[in-house]
Symmetry: C2
């Protein structure tokens, strides 16, 4: 049956959320249990940012330079602000303590996953640049600190990714390859994921095409390494990669994922936004065409934040209903897997965390999504190559007397579920007063007045339009809005099965 879940657990969440250095091995194991019997078929354990979350001998672990007796005011944490320092001390202390006690999270989780019938993977972040505005931050490794000449951009600093490693340098590739080698030797996993989306920028601006050749060669080297270890382990070791959501952008950033697939280097491809928002309209069909003739599985990557457009100041999390919408759409468009990133069991997590067990049991199959309330919300793509033209649907400016179109893919047509178009106003004006007419696939939708929308929702007023049953169908729907007066729309969604109540 097509469709299942892949879940990424990041490199610090467990230490950060538990913060109990006295935790037992059995308690560590128990983390896996919440995923047993769910649709999660692959647990992808991320073991590094710029440092490792295990006792690496080739990179520095997060507790390198940490003085367990040194308290919060020690040199490693000196540049962290007061608000951050206490938390940092605690989670690093816990990581150090577990290591001292010989409890290796990943070793234990891999073993426990196998016991529970879940396939264990390890994910390696290929270019993590959290907090690089602070050169002395405790998360950074020595190579990065000592060799600013190995960074993408050396002459200016505007964004974290400016200070990412430049994979055009042999040292950078060798440095990351040795981490992969150690991981593959240390952990007996079913697969390795190269996470090129933390943070997605790996070359000097202008050298991404040259970079694409380099990363394909790099991926080939990793595949060869895995081939060797397959002989030793006696089982297949798969390779996956996380890349930007659209083929043009992925290639323009030096990630020629279609080539990796066609050369037989990867077994799974995760297409995904970076972080700002879940991307609800990724071109799954085009990716499937690019993977034609291969056995590579395509995973649609979901991020936990949801935002309507780049300039939006809102920062809200997805919920069970918004994930249902995205998952239903992607599976219907041909995705083989739904991949959850930042959907962890606390802190970095969905808004309605009490629904987490349901999400793990629903989001991987059309069958388990069918018939349940879901929301299909317009978002945008948050990752673009340097100099590439970027696009976003919202905000939509409606000039008087001109219609504007917005498209939304809903997956399967709802069966005996009412559906509504919900439109948020950007400028506070009333939509009715604007003389607004809303059509879905050419069918007029009846005005339903102001509605109260649960989060995620826009800041301003939201108005509803009833969708007539006969206007709904599978797949893409085009909403056409025309008004007699100028208005700007900042939020558009199709809600199915549970309608926002009257305001």
């Amino acid at each position: 049956m097509r469709g299942e879940l892949v879940l990424n657990e990041d490199n610090t969440h467990y230490y950060n959320s538990r913060r109990n250095p006295d935790i037992t091995a059995a308690e560590v194991d128990a983390w896996v249990d919440q995923y047993a019997g769910t649709q999660v078929k692959e647990l992808v354990l991320n073991v590094n940012c710029m440092r490792t979350s295990y006792a690496s001998e080739v990179w520095e672990p997060v507790w390198s330079g940490f003085d367990p007796e040194g308290g919060e005011d020690q040199p490693l944490l000196a540049s962290a602000g007061p608000a951050e320092r206490n938390g940092a001390y605690q989670w690093i202390h816990m990581a150090w303590q577990l290591s001292m006690k010989g409890i290796d999270l990943y070793e234990r989780w891999i073993a426990r996953s196998r016991q529970l019938g879940i396939s264990p993977w390890i994910s390696i972040r290929m270019n993590d640049v959290h907090n690089v505005n602070d050169e002395s931050h405790y998360l950074h490794n020595r190579l990065w600190r000592e060799r600013p000449d190995l960074r993408r951009i050396t002459g200016r600093f505007e964004e974290w990714t400016d200070r990412a490693f430049d994979y055009g340098h042999k040292e950078v590739r060798a440095y990351h390859f040795q981490l992969i080698r150690e991981v593959v030797e240390r952990y007996d996993v079913d697969g390795i994921e190269l996470d090129w989306m933390r943070f997605g920028y790996h070359f000097r601006p202008g050298f991404e095409s040259e970079g694409a050749v380099i990363l394909t060669e790099f991926t080939s080297s990793v595949r060869k390494l895995l081939d060797e270890w397959e002989m030793k382990r006696g089982h297949r070791i798969k390779l996956s990669a996380r890349v930007p959501s659209r083929p043009e952008t992925a290639l323009a950033l030096g990630m020629d994922a279609a080539e990796w697939a066609q050369q037989g280097l990867i077994d799974q491809l995760v297409v995904t936004p970076f972080w700002e928002t879940i991307e609800t309209d990724m071109p799954i069909e085009i990716w499937k065409q690019l993977l034609r003739g291969t056995t590579v599985t395509l995973a649609a990557g979901l991020e936990v934040l949801i935002r309507a457009y780049p300039a939006s100041k809102l920062r809200q999390m997805n919920t069970l209903e918004t994930v249902r919408g995205a998952a239903m759409s992607f599976l219907n468009r041909g995705a083989d897997r739904i991949y959850l990133f930042n959907y962890m069991d606390s802190q970095t997590a969905m808004a309605d965390l009490h629904n987490y067990p349901n999400l793990l049991r629903e989001a991987g199959h059309v069958e388990t999504l069918r018939g349940k309330p879901r929301r299909h919300i317009v978002t945008y793509a948050d990752t673009w190559a340097p100099g590439e033209a970027s696009a976003n649907i919202l905000p939509v400016h409606c000039a008087a007397g001109r219609s504007r179109s917005i498209r939304i893919h809903i997956g399967e047509k709802p069966n005996q579920q009412a559906a509504m178009i919900l439109i948020g106003m950007e400028n506070g004006a009333g939509l009715l007063e604007s003389g607004c007419r809303v059509y879905l696939n050419g069918q007029l939708c009846e005005w339903a007045g102001e509605r109260i929308l649960e989060k995620p929702c826009p800041e301003g007023a939201v108005f509803g339009f009833h969708i007539p049953d006969h206007a709904m169908k599978d797949g893409f729907h085009v909403i056409e809005v025309s008004t007699d007066h100028e208005v700007t729309l900042g939020w558009v969604e199709i809600a199915i099965g549970k309608l926002a109540p009257d305001a």
Copy 2:
């Protein structure tokens, strides 16, 4: 040798530009001769808009309803404005006259092309909607006039394409298929082109995915028709299609070109903007990946207009130098052919028409483009599906102290040719006063002052920056601009081999 030219001759240009009903068959033939001995390997003769330019028995020819004795004030031309009427009368009269004399342009041109070693094709516009704002316009056919229910959008009229035929209707498909059948029977050609880019919109908004299945089936029917005629003719009859420049948009408009290729239905694919501007950054690499495993040739379609961004009021034509830039880039990116649309021998033509013979001898091969002056100008994509997010690089708003990036693909690195970045200001302010710094691939480019740019050029001032030799390379180049004061850039290009002089 990869790279050659395909030239499209539209359905009215010859009648319109010659306007001499006494023209002889030999004079008609001579039109082909200008393409002999050039890089034009395929002449693609377009035979219809909403009417045919030959004596069709299944559609109406352009002279249907025309009274040759009726003068300009006859019913057919009644709705045409006075300015248009005289010209319309003349060219329609000429078309009628030639037909009466038994001179069939296409029959003659096909024969003459074969004599001269050029491969003759016929192109059929699949949904031409010129002048549909005027329901009574002389170009329209009866089916369109009598059956408004067969149109894409019936409830409103904002753009010509709103009144395009909806291929969701069987009558529409049958109507166009019978034209194809007649053409294939009437003319012995090497290939048939289905021109889905006149005008690119073939389904009711929201029904494009369903439409994709329909057009693939339609294309398959055409292929079967050609298979039958191959038996009768005793030679291969190829099939080509013109589609939007980007795979996502093509598919989102119902044109699943990758599927046509993979099913073996087409032999050539032309990717192209619609009309507003040549599109200098079409994703050729992605198209080549989508065509992998097939023998389909990929033609990069060049339009004759060149504009910097959608809201630009300028309407300028390409020149030999701008075409060189685009062709060099596309061939270098893997295009098999350069396809010229609206590059005719007069009227709808390049700006520097005296260079037309050179263009025909240069634009098809990297070898003949190498070493010559060329211009690589930022433009945009002019075709988007209903509700799709659209993108354009320009205008670029530079906020104070933030760098902005623009990417340009130049094909091969110039060899001993000087190169310059040319930037046009949108708001009239001086660029030097803004504290502007310009980098190419990370290398600072020296200020070269205000420059005088030949057309095409922006309305306002243009400033130059010398590119150091060592900053140039093959392929993509990223220009980074940062300023101390806010400015807006409305034009960006890389000029190679002939620099704009000092102002």
